[in-house]
Amino acid sequence: MMDAVGNVQRVLLLGGTSDIGLAVLRELAGGRPVRAVLAGRPGDRLDAAASDLRAAGHDVTVLPFDAEDVASHPRVIEQAFAHGDVDVAVVAFGVLGDQEQAWQEHRAAVRLAQVNVTAAVSVGVELARHLSAQGRGSVIALSSVAGQRPRRSNFVYGATKSGMDDFFTGLREALRPAGVSVLVVRPGFVRTRMTEGLPAAPLAVDADAVARTVARAWRAGREVVYAPAALRLVMVVLRLLPAPLFRRLPV
């Protein structure tokens, strides 16, 4: 939970190496030292993320977290809450992969679904349990506009994001009576490591811009936010477009 002026004390980042997730964490901290819990795949990237945050004055705890190993999730989340209240949990892990492989190769498709949907639901349920017990706190779930209308070019990724988006949207309603809020974030094309080498789509932004939009929306108590905000209108139009027309769009 934020304090009276919008500061946070402890932030849990699931997907501790996510460019957007780390940018959101920095933006929520807003120049004040916070306690950051980074849950991610152990390795150089996670170590580097932790030492960057420490250099900025934050108190960092690192937890090994493997999204595909759903059986381990309850224990990881338990550890994240062991040292005090978590004000905000950011669900930032996800994979994109090769989208042509993803609908034609069994293994690739299943992995995408496991990480982006199954693991998201898995951590979502555990976060809900701990946050309800706290009687306060927030989840920020990084979804995607790709889940708003499936496109030929990335529909497997879109389908997984659609699934996690619906889950967290529903969880938001389920947690309201407990005093816990959920913010669903739907970024468009974000220039990050995940999209490296891909041609940028219209309205592309960088992770810091997404983070600023997210932090502002969270402080204002919003439930859904698009990044950039203009995408909200674009998606309304795209969702209404008949398939024969949509198919011809260069997006």
């Binding site: 009276a4 002026v5 919008g6 500061n7 004390q9 030292p33 005090g84 706290q134 706190g137 407990a178």
Partner: protein, 433 residues
């Protein structure tokens, strides 16, 4: 969300406290703290306002035994006719005795009377083990001074033996004067405060330049019967607070802005006489002008405001000047910036008052306020000052621990009387108390 329960009898409270593991339990009074001390997310909150009886009064000594949920308003309404006044009154009567102990509240008379707990002889404290202990300076000084200003974290205050102050009337003889700037103000307060039992100054924080710190000083003392106008002499102790007006909850945002508050402040300053002596004012006019306006906080609109109150020691006037200048430069629309000289503090481990200058203000919420206040925190800390926990809603654990050297011993007392931390609040979690 928390589980809020009306307080029952002692045994029932003891059971609730014993059962409160995990997220814990905290007592709540009338909810007039500005932050999170009486909130407990996921835990139990005991609403003490159902325990509000005045159990005994000894008029000659002024000693009363009162339940913690009784309000200061109630004490005044019932005891003023007997010539007894609450020894310390903050800017509102709508606080409970238990809350007054937990925050060790202060008032305009701090420089002569100290804070609330200086007038508490003993208190009945329900501790985590389910026992009710009568705690006094003699029986357990450490627990007494941890409870005084301890924000309810040592146990539930059930009953208090309070020493009231004898008064002849429910009125005050008040002198008002203007100060043209901050130095003039400090000089006037230093020179004459000792001549009054009550003293406070209102500062126009929006005035800048040479008028920085211009202010209106009101000081007074309890009126003797012969000082009252004839019509009041018939019933000098009659206390009938004004009918309260309610601010509608549709007060639109941004009605208070730099311009309107500047205009209000200008008016307030101009309206104050340059110098008036021996004006007779009623108790509520003198102490609690805002109590006449129910839900006055709504004028700040839906985003609300934060309170900020600090004290810096005497000798740190330069820090005070710097902070007032920064508030003026920032143009933060503050209705009420109140300056007072504190007298000596007490032994309360987390008790706020300490010898020095205390400034309290409301600031409407706006972007960037968090960083601005973090900066002020640093100035206060560098000057050897501290923040008032009953008003804080955003400081960090690190800052508060640096400001309160007693915090460490406070934790030790908690380890002794509440090792499993049955007593918890959002404030305790935020500030690691």
């Amino acid at each position: 969300m928390a589980d809020v329960r009306m307080a029952g009898e002692d045994e029932q409270l003891a059971r609730a406290v014993a059962a409160a593991t995990g997220r814990g339990v905290i007592a709540r009074g009338l909810g007039r703290s500005y932050g999170d001390p009486a909130q407990n997310g996921g835990g139990v909150v005991l609403d003490m306002t159902s325990r509000a009886r005045i159990l005994s009064v000894d008029v000659p000594s002024g000693r009363v035994l009162v339940e913690a949920g009784a309000s200061l308003d109630q004490l005044m309404q019932q005891l003023l006719p007997m010539g007894l006044m609450v020894p310390v009154s903050p800017g509102t009567r709508q606080v409970t005795v238990g809350g007054a102990v937990a925050a060790d509240i202060h008032g305009k008379n701090h420089h002569v009377a100290g804070s609330f707990c200086d007038h508490v002889e003993s208190l009945d404290l329900l501790t985590a083990d389910g026992e009710v202990r009568r705690v006094s300076r003699e029986s357990d000084a450490q627990l007494f001074w941890a409870t005084a200003g301890g924000m309810g974290l040592t146990g539930v205050v059930l009953r208090v033996v309070l020493r009231m102050s004898p008064v002849d009337s429910a009125h005050y003889v008040v002198d008002t004067e203007r100060a043209r700037d901050l130095d003039d103000l400090m000089a006037r307060l230093e020179a004459d405060d000792h001549r009054y039992t009550h003293s406070v100054a209102w500062i126009d924080c929006l005035a800048g330049g040479r008028a920085l710190g211009r202010s209106v000083i009101t000081r007074g003392r309890s009126a003797r019967v012969e000082e009252l106008p004839r019509r009041l002499q018939q019933a000098p102790l009659s206390f009938r607070p004004n009918t309260r007006l309610t601010v509608p909850d549709v007060f639109p945002p941004r009605v208070l802005n730099g311009l309107t508050v500047r205009a209000f402040n200008e008016l307030w300053f101009r309206k104050a006489p340059r110098r008036v002596r021996r004006d007779v004012q009623g108790l509520s006019q003198f102490f609690h002008p805002l109590d006449a306006l129910r839900d006055w906080n709504r004028v700040y609109g839906p985003r609300g405001f934060v309170q900020y109150q600090f004290v810096v020691p005497f000798g740190e006037e330069q820090a005070l000047r710097t902070i007032v200048r920064r508030l003026s430069d920032a143009g933060t629309a503050s209705f009420l910036a109140v300056l007072k000289r504190f007298g000596s503090g007490n032994e309360g481990l987390l008790s706020f008052p300490a010898p020095g200058w205390t400034l309290a203000l409301d600031i409407p919420l706006a972007g960037g306020l968090g960083e601005f206040l973090d900066d002020l925190d640093r100035s206060v800390l560098d000057a050897g000052g501290r923040l008032y926990l009953a008003k804080d809603s955003r400081a960090t654990a690190r800052t508060v621990h640096a400001m309160y050297p007693g915090a460490e011993e406070f934790r030790e007392v908690r380890d002794r009387v509440d090792p499993n931390r049955h007593f918890r609040s959002d404030l305790a979690r935020r500030l690691d108390l």
